[in-house]
């Protein structure tokens, strides 16, 4: 059991906002901060422009986790897209819970352009959490 947990390398899809979290990820890179390679980044203009369908699709196709990164409240380049994103994510999690999917696989974090270290830490934390959760059970399902 212990071994299996270690063997599993989760695949995490990250939707990051162009102005804060993506720049934060960039800073982590240019600062040579190490973090697990389990993350696949998709850059968006704003976390508020993320349609839930992309998160659902990622999970149904077998991604083990989805990270949504936006600016800290008050810092949004478009004034309040991140706070609208928070409402969408709340709805997503509520739907997932009722549909028997695992809402813990979806994370929302505010990470600014100067927080390269915090970005790396978030990825490490999330990978550890998803490893504990195990692989996404939807990966093996065909009737979706």
């Amino acid at each position: 059991m212990e071994k299996k947990e270690n063997d599993f390398e989760p695949k995490i899809i990250a939707f990051l906002c162009n102005w804060c979290t993506y720049a934060g990820a960039d800073l982590a890179g240019t600062s040579r901060i190490q973090y697990p390679a389990n993350i696949r980044i998709i850059r968006m203009m704003c976390s508020g422009s993320l349609d839930p369908t992309y998160v659902i699709k990622a999970l149904l196709e077998g991604a083990d986790g989805v990270l949504i990164g936006g600016c800290h409240p008050g810092d949004c380049h478009y004034l309040n897209g991140n706070l609208k994103a928070r409402r969408r994510v709340a709805v997503m999690k509520s739907v997932f819970k009722n549909a028997g999917l695992e809402p813990e696989r979806v994370w929302l974090r505010w990470i600014s352009a100067s927080e390269g270290g915090y970005f790396a830490e978030t990825v490490r934390e999330m990978v550890a959490h998803i490893k504990k959760l195990g692989p996404n059970p939807l990966k093996a399902e065909w009737a979706l």
Binding site: D51, P52, T53, I56, K57, L60, E61, G62, P73, G74, N80, L83, K84, R86, R87, R88, V89, A90, V91, M92, K93, S94, V95, F96, K97, N98, A99, G100, L101, E104, W107, L108, R109, W110, Y118, E125, W142, A143, L144
Partner: protein, 366 residues
């Protein structure tokens, strides 16, 4: 203000309501009335846009059959400003959907008067047609529906109607209050400025609140609120039966997008993509993405779901969609303390926010 509609020559609630609608057209208070008409020969009931008051002789809004959500028709009728005034006779769920659509800028509410009514519910369309076929077009199906409603045993109604605890037109401009009122009297409740203005010119006496009506409405809505419980169904397993026919999207009043993201061609699936996915997973269900379809639809519209249950009536494989969407909608609406269809002044949850809310969404605090 509660007005008493009864001209003396009326013998039933339906007569009184027809009389009231005819008066609206005769006095040119409105240019057209949207109301279900009942074909006296076949017993069929269909929505109609009526401009000639004689056409209203067949008006029968109390027939317990709902083929479409009338809000969907109002989108078509008010797409461009025509300058003409329309009165729409709406079930409570239709009035709620109309209010949501006004907020979503799909219905122009300026020249629209919503006339709601006490709704004892509707039968599933197939069951209703069976009844009219078996018992003839003259059968008093509305009377049976009312009896079942008042007995508190609405099992034979559509599940969405049997669960509904908001069955009076409180959010419409006017409400025709007839349940628990003595035949053929119908009370006219005015709920807005617009409704009040329309009622001003009518030949109607003022009456006091009817205690019989208040009692029965409180009783039934109380019973239903108590009965409300988790559907306890495995949604994923149920949706495995979905054919992806899109019927539930077509009939849903809140699915108004001109280009739906969930169309297969919009999803960008080429034959090659399907095959690649099948190779990756070993096997995939076809038509594909039924769960993606439903979960996305829920994310998009459940916040405004008025629980009319038309999705369930339209489902060819009999999925309990009404119950599922009702539960999803309730939980989502509770997040924001939002009740859809109550007032055009309540902001839609997705266009607004509070700075300090939903602390559980950001999974781990810094």
């Amino acid at each position: 203000m509660l007005l008493k509609l009864n001209s003396g020559k009326c013998k039933s609630y339906q007569d009184t309501i027809r009389n009231f609608l005819q008066e609206l057209l005769e006095k040119k208070t409105v240019d057209a009335v949207l109301v279900p008409l009942r074909n006296p020969v076949t017993g069929n009931v269909a929505q109609a846009l009526v401009t000639d008051e004689r056409g209203l002789n067949e008006a029968d809004p109390l027939a317990p059959l709902q083929m479409v959500n009338a809000a969907k028709i109002l989108v078509e009728l008010t797409r461009e400003e025509s300058g003409r005034k329309i009165a729409a006779v709406l079930r409570p769920c239709e009035a709620r959907a109309t209010i949501e659509l006004i907020k979503l800028k799909q219905v122009l509410g300026d020249n629209l008067v919503m006339i709601g009514y006490d709704c004892p519910g509707a039968y599933d369309a197939k069951a209703y047609f069976e009844m009219t076929e078996k018992e003839g077009p003259g059968a008093d199906i509305a009377g049976r529906c009312l009896k079942e409603f008042t007995n508190g045993d609405a099992r034979s109604l559509r599940p969405a109607c049997a669960l509904c605890a908001k069955f009076t037109g409180e959010s419409a401009d006017l409400n025709l209050a007839w349940i628990g009122v003595e035949v053929p009297e119908v009370g006219l409740e005015t709920n807005s400025e617009k409704g009040l203005k329309l009622a001003e010119g009518l030949q109607a006496g003022e009456v006091k609140e009817n205690p019989g009506r208040t009692k029965i409405i409180a009783k039934i809505s109380g019973q239903r609120r108590e009965k409300e419980q988790d559907p306890g169904e495995n949604i994923r397993a149920l949706i495995g039966k979905c054919l992806r026919c899109y019927n539930c999207r077509e009939v849903c009043p809140l699915c108004y997008c001109k280009e739906c993201l969930l169309k297969p061609e919009k999803m960008g699936y080429t034959s090659e993509r399907h095959l690649k996915r099948a190779i990756k997973k070993g096997r995939i269900k076809m038509p594909a993405d039924t769960l993606l379809y439903h979960l996305t639809k829920m994310n998009h519209m459940a916040v405004s779901c008025v629980a009319c249950g038309l999705c369930e009536q339209a489902c060819p494989v009999g999925l309990p969609l009404g119950k599922i969407y009702r539960k999803m909608g309730k939980d989502i609406q509770a997040l924001f303390g939002y009740i859809p269809g109550m007032s055009v002044n309540d902001e839609l949850p997705f266009v607004t926010f509070k700075e300090d809310e939903l602390p559980d969404v950001e999974d781990v605090k810094k």
